[in-house]
């Protein structure tokens, strides 16, 4: 089997005295969709942020396609390669679009400045991406004029414009009104179908069930269990996983959205 696209190797992340990630190891192969679930404070968002190199790690290493992308500040050894950073695209809970730029400018800024793409080429690509996320009529609009769901889809298009090999989704539907969640999940399903490698932190169990190749359950900074969705949802191996899923189902009760 080919080497995994992402290798997370015994990563330790601390904030002061508090250990947020405790020797986390995880491998993701090209084209895999991995959904990370777990209670808040379990370290799942931190894991994505470390992957995106928004946070330094204290120990361990992260490899992207065999190239060292991050390494523990407390570890010896060669420094990571800083040139390949834009292999990773990330979408945030709060969208984080640039409010002073139009949707088109949001999408073309990085390809032009970082990839050195010509303006016309960047725009052609942006139009194609906007069509993919269903926002072709919003190109000249500022983000404040968009609904939350539209903003999040624009943010996905912006990330895709850098042609990343891996997309990280950090609770991207958590800030949305319930009726807008579906359109964003649909966009993500489309990406998964096209073979994008994805790491998704979410509370949307329906999405996890339908789209994930594997579901990872995290608790207190560690990966407790990793299994395909049908197994983890029907017969979780670990008691902690079972307890979490039961609590979740209880809370959502009969009103759980099916999608």
């Amino acid at each position: 089997m080919a080497e995994p696209l992402v290798v997370i190797d015994r990563v330790v992340k601390r904030y002061g005295a508090e250990t947020v990630l405790d020797r986390v190891s995880l491998e993701v192969r090209t084209g895999q969709v991995m959904v990370v679930i777990g209670p808040s404070g379990s370290g799942k968002s931190t894991l994505l942020r470390c992957l995106a190199r928004l946070e330094p790690i204290q120990k361990g290493r992260i490899l992207i396609d065999g190239v060292l992308s991050a390494k523990g500040t407390e570890d010896e050894g060669p420094a990571p390669d800083k040139t390949g950073g834009h292999d990773i695209g990330m979408v945030f809970q709060s969208f984080n679009l640039f409010p002073h730029l139009t949707v088109m400018e949001n999408i073309t800024l990085a390809p032009r400045r970082v990839r050195g793409m010509a303006a016309a080429e960047a725009e052609t690509q942006a139009i194609e991406l906007l069509r993919r996320v269903g926002l072709e009529d919003k190109r000249d609009v500022h983000p404040a004029r968009l609904s939350g769901g539209q903003q999040q889809r624009a943010a996905i298009a912006r990330a895709l414009a850098m042609r990343p090999r891996i997309m990280l989704f950090d609770e991207v539907t958590s800030a949305l009104d319930p009726e807008l969640v579906g359109e964003v999940l649909k966009t993500m399903r489309g990406l998964a179908e096209q073979g994008m490698t994805m790491l998704v932190v979410t509370h949307e169990m329906g999405f996890a069930r339908d789209v994930a190749d594997d579901v990872v359950f995290m608790d207190r900074g560690a990966i407790v269990e990793r299994a395909p969705p049908d197994r983890i949802f029907s017969q979780p191996a670990e008691a902690r996983t079972r307890a979490f899923l039961e609590r979740l189902l209880e809370r959502e009760g009969g009103t759980r959205r099916e999608r």
């Binding site: 995106a52 928004l54 834009h86 945030f92 984080n96 640039f98 002073h100």
Partner: protein
Amino acid sequence: MGSFRFDMVVGYWPDIVDGALLTLKMSAVSIGLGLVLGLMLALMRYSRVPWLDWPAYAYIEFFRTTPPLVQIVWLYYGLPMFFGRDLNEFWSAAVALGLNIAAFFAEIFRAGIAGIDRTQWQASRVLGLSLTDTLRFVILPQAWRNVLPPTGTTVIYLVKGTALATAIGVPELLRVGQLISLETFRPVESLTIVAIAYFVLTYPIALAFQAIERRLAASRV
């Protein structure tokens, strides 16, 4: 006795115009220097890199807490004492005021940059934008809206502050007023005409800043 004799000073209007032009020129030099240096200082402070942050901090506090009049005198008399070279009156005053106002601009800009949500930096970082590109295309265009009002106030404050150059004999507006006053023995009338001249200089600046603010507010959709 005691009547307001404006007619005795109006004849000096060509001198007033000369003084006003010099005030304007000095203001332009000081503001230009202050803006560039102020932005650099703000970025040094914001960087949180100790060897950039600390000198900037020391600079800002030094220039904020000592009188600009003393700073002008230091530069004018002190420079030749220590370096054997001097600047003329105009440049001494303009540079000293520029160095001074830079400290105030720095604090305004720093607050403006700090007011931009951290997530904007993170989004830029994830997209691979360099630090300079992040500042140029993402952070500063947004900070700009927030720093505009206090920047306008500081610019107007500086234009009037150039009157301190009188102390080393630069023939700017206030100095011209003082000379007219000495010749006519009409201090109230002389200084009133000077005040009117300052108003004519600064009010358009205030209007310009208000217009830019309005335009930015309108474009904020």
